[in-house]
Point group: C2
């Protein structure tokens, strides 16, 4: 039984495309740096839904212990330091999945 | 290039475990009924994060057209009819993924 971690972000008014690109660059490094990440996806909302948040991250790990290792990993914390100043709102859930 | 649809739910105060089980029963039927669903996962928050929503759904489809077919499918709408009366809040994103 694994854990799927989801975080949705809503960017503050005035957040630029360059700032979002910096977020994507920071996140894209994580799978190589954090071995607990079994599957990892993220991206900007594509604009086909109503009243959506702006960005999503999905991280699949093997256990609750691995989720905590990922959460507290210095490289993850460094990415959060890029994200936090841009946040207007955040929504998250961790739930059980069959894999990874 | 596929689409990953994420919806996070926060249940209204007073929502019972039986009502959440009814949601899970309604959602569990959808992969058999909606051929556009390539990967589908959902579940209750496991309680290892701070200030989380209560429940997550992740639906992977092959295209924006398939997302719209899923969204508007009568069986999906029937599941939403179970979910909507329980909602205090909802957050969603659709973003591009390499698969499915």
């Amino acid at each position: 039984m694994g854990i799927r971690h989801i975080a949705l972000f809503r960017w503050a008014t005035g957040t630029t495309s360059e700032q979002v690109e910096a977020v994507e660059a920071a996140l894209s490094r994580l799978p190589e740096l954090i071995p607990q990440l079994k599957n990892y996806s993220f991206g900007a909302d594509v604009g086909i839904g109503g009243d959506t948040y702006d960005f999503a991250v999905v991280a699949d790990v093997a256990s609750e212990a691995d989720y905590l290792s990922y959460r507290d990993h210095p490289e993850h914390q460094a990415a959060l330091a890029v994200i936090r100043p841009l946040l207007a709102d955040r929504a998250s859930v961790q739930f059980n999945i069959a894999g990874p």
